[in-house]
Symmetry: D2
Subunit: 366 residues, 4 copies
């Protein structure tokens, strides 16, 4: 089944494997007239590029994007925008060994079960490198949102037991773990060093805040804005939980605690005194910031010994070596941000047809 | 935008408002040849029907389904199956008062922001009654799955601070809270009685276990099986969190703890010694039971006093009376089960085209 | 597969069989705020209702629509609009005989081949009655278009060898064959009487003109506006050909004859001196009227003797009696008009996101 | 809107402009396990490559395909197959002149109307070069069909007034006009030479025959197999008419002439004595060859003088020079064949879920 496409109006299609010729994405349905250059995309890609710190794989990839279509004289034309990022350091010899067995925590077994065989060079299609296409597309969505005064900001909320205790936006980009709290970042770095010594890896939490979404975006039934965000986040490998606003804690809450009171703001708009809801009511944005968290599992590739089976059904013990991140979280931050931007951009475009009076205004102007 | 349709092959479209003429659903893409009678659907609807205990709204609705098409001589024909459930006890006078203000925790404000006005008779389209269509369709999906040896079972895991301590499948249907632990059910009932006295309401957790899904179902990128489940669950009003397998606890875990070891089972299949992954690896089912949890917020309609604003921008205090459930969880159990069944059924049908050798076998037999 | 849904934003889902409980449609994605009453829909349905002349089936059906949802205080709310038309005169005894063999020119055999069995009461799902749902939905699309100054007008261009020689718009509604030429209508009526005497039936041509579509609607690749119209028209049973503008005659034309010259109109817009293109260039509307024709085959149910086989593989001769139209064309006129309206409405809504400057203007106004 | 994607299961997304960096396509949903090499695709592309005869543009393009993903060890893996064909001879100086005015018969004006501006280097996105992506994808669809014993064959039926009088399959590939009648091909060549002398161009007819499709493929309502073919064909630029089987001639026919009688074949299958229906009844294949024709307009770029307007609204006379084909038909033959293969492949995959008994059989085997 064709599962590599996402979106209804602003639609992306990704392709590519970890050890094939490259990774790419086609963005279709992008409105005409957005200023766009390769540099806009490259700056997003650089945030997830490997080899930037000791906490990410040492695979050497420049992850340089080539913009192939859909932009003319510096502006999007309305035609599909195709982008390619060539793989450079695909040492598939690293991986020939894993062809013969199923790595615990990976999709090796399920790919074989689905397709009868698999591209065993690294993660193949289920590699983290697949997210390059999402980030390249997300950079374009972010530019679209920027034109409308909307921003998506993701950061690491916790790594293993280390959670942020303060929030400094400026701090996020200054540490390799993308934490908004320098102290926590330092502690988390020590924790990861310890994990590595134990040949182990760590999970963590990513939080994302979307500012500037006007009230009224999203649909009330199956295409709820939070349902679309949930799907987008769970489509990122390694995500095992998603929650909006107060999230799982609502299970213990009472209605009187959990409801957000409405009030009139100084500029005479409807505001909420709290934001337990996380910015979405009944699937539709309420004008408050949209806030959600995703739980990311520890890197499954660890050098500690593990039990598994070969493709021919023999029990074996394995220790997985290679160039793996000891934690997935930091490099997933920009992926979360990109998937959020893609989801919001599509929802904004879909929203434009909700009222006949506004449709009439729109067409009067033609 | 058209957000009332879900699914790619097994596709449902719901319609109807809480205080309109009725609620309905069209199931399109259901395979021909499944035995189906109104009773099969009614038994599912009865599980979410109001008025069954003191914990659910006292609105009187028989919620009787009428099967309008797509079934001939007791079997599905492949044509769309249309079902209608007429509303009977829509006292919209109950609701005329709420036309003028925005209820905290409800979608009143966001509907006005989206559509310019709203059907203010009760929740309108965002009422819990909308889920009737999902349950009627879910009953059909469950029959399809049953033919393939697959079952979905949801139950209440906790209400407020009361969590189950034991698991007895038989117990689920014997208490009005659908808990698999009779003691917990009794404690939860007391807790809810206390909430009601305080004019308040409670949240809770629903857990769902899907047994019998073969390995290989789901897609590796955007249409991951867990991503589809996440979307389906978040499309249920009041859901604020979704987690698969070990879920949010993976954020604190290490790789060595979180990975599931593979082994060969007695009948020479690949098995997993643990199921931290919750039955899905890389978006594709791994043959273990699929296990997930959803967090459900407390009923937002409470009679305790709350602050809000009127549609004309005046601050007021309100106490919401009416026939509301003090907890949403128990009646949402069958909705969760239905949405799970719909998601799995669609994924199974989509899966059939993944391998050319099996497609050839299929067509050879024609 | 789920093939009963059409459209991307303005989306319809039809259901029902010729001899089941009824026929219906759900319109999802209709913008909020359109004035709508049952009468608006009924007037469209009356144009295809049986029994209006000697050229249509004598089956007695009032085809009365019941509006079930999506309209509140006389206006569409943005929620799905569900409509049901109950069958009244489903004499399925008429049809018990046809259960056993395959009628030539009908879908009996192909349904059995696809689904393993069929609802043999009349045409079942492939009956002309299925189009009732399209017309009910088309009536709503037509109201949407009317708000934007757009109209769709279909009429009979020819029946058998009788083609219109003149065009009088007022005349269309005054003859049972919906021809814009009273003389031709009379001749065609005589021709049909002769066909009936010979126990035979006749084909014909329907033409449709869509006025008021601004330039710029439609997409340049797979979702060309003419491609969508072609699909919509070919989805009507009995249609065997579709052509736009000069249509098939372009095969014999030269470029110098076929190109339409551009010029500046009096109000300083870009106009075309001719309209060989039929109002669409490169898949996108050019501001001229959109003009197309569809070829409709003769009613396959004829009482003249025909050869066929039984479901158990025996050769037999059959003469099909029943209440059949001697010509499909006149009752298909409003179906063509409805499908055109649905296609154009969806394309107009989709078009709103094509330019970033207009999206910015739209959201500034919120 | 995202209009560059086609298909439900076997899904293609094309990108690229005539004078950009290249043209490409992503094929998603292709089953795993099909043998595939670049050569399989190249042989299709070579059939539409320019410069092969005096009847096609002299633009020099090798149109060499690079396969970027989705194939491993010579077999499709189930992952998206990305292909790129770099443009080589994009002399966009040829086209700088046309930036300032609207070419008659082209989409220049409608692109400006839709997007506010356009990539004026040649046809941009609406160039015939866009079809390269379709043909590359069609080659893969054709391989899939080949595995199931299904073939699509298109050829030129007429050019201007010259229609084929005989049919020799072997002849098709031996003349540059792809006609199955050598005499007609010679006459047509003379006719085209004359057109060119007059600085003019010619239209024509393409016919396509699809053999081997089993009965039962396609859906009975909106996704009729013929409706999908109609859309696919009309999505090819320059197509102005589509007809199935007897097509437009049914408008003059009687039921007794047009119906196809059923009979039992020697191997005890249901056959049809004639094939006026063109292989599809009620939207579903009937087991006979599927036969359709498309009308292709004359190349709109002609050097004869034409009237038009500039983008700033001035009337001018233009003579369009450049490297244009005097007839579109021959190079469109393989495009028609490709679009047919894509449509049938997708329909076959969708069909697999129509019957519960076969689904059970399929899953039993897992």
């Amino acid at each position: 089944m064709a599962g590599s496409t996402l979106g209804t109006i602003f639609k992306i299609t990704t392709w590519g494997e970890s050890h094939g010729k490259g990774i790419g994405v086609v963005v279709d349905g992008c409105p005409a007239g957005i200023s766009l250059a390769e540099g806009d995309i490259q700056s997003y890609l650089n945030r997830r590029r490997p080899g930037q710190s000791r906490f990410t794989t040492q695979r050497r990839e420049s992850d340089a994007v080539e913009l192939l279509s859909g932009v003319f004289e510096g502006k999007t034309t309305g035609a599909p925008i195709s982008m390619i990022i060539r793989n450079q350091d695909q040492k598939s010899t690293d991986y020939s060994e894993i062809a013969g067995y199923y790595r615990p925590g990976h999709a090796d077994y399920t790919f074989d079960a689905k397709y009868g065989f698999r591209d065993y060079r690294g993660g193949g299609r289920s590699s983290g490198r697949e997210t390059i296409g999402r980030v390249a597309a997300g950079a374009i969505a972010a530019r679209l949102l920027c034109n409308l005064g909307i921003s998506c900001m993701a950061y690491t909320r916790s790594i293993g037991p280390i959670e942020i205790q303060s929030f400094d936006r400026e701090c996020i980009g200054t540490n390799p773990l993308y934490m908004p709290d320098a102290d926590a970042a330092e502690k988390a770095a020590h924790y990861l060093d310890a994990c590595r010594k134990e040949q182990d890896s760590s999970g963590g939490l990513i939080e994302c805040v979307i500012d500037g979404v006007p009230a009224g975006i999203g649909d009330p039934v199956f295409e709820k804005l939070d349902a679309l965000l949930a799907k987008a986040m769970f489509s990122i490998g390694a995500v095992k939980g998603f929650e909006l606003g107060n999230g799982f804690s609502v299970a213990h809450a009472k209605g009187s605690e959990n409801n957000d009171s409405f009030y009139m703001t100084e500029d005479n708009a409807v505001g909420k005194r709290t934001n337990h809801a996380g910015g979405i009511l009944g699937g539709i944005s309420d004008g408050s910031p949209i806030v959600f968290r995703v739980a990311v599992k520890p890197t499954p590739s660890i050098s500690a010994m593990q039990q598994t089976v070969t493709t021919s059904g023999e029990a074996i013990d394995v220790s997985i070596h290679g160039r793996h991140d000891p934690v997935i979280v930091p490099r997933a931050v920009v992926v979360v941000e990109s998937m959020a931007a893609l989801t919001i951009a599509d929802a904004l475009l879909l929203h434009m047809t909700s009222r006949m009076d506004r449709i009439c205004q729109f067409y009067d102007r033609l």
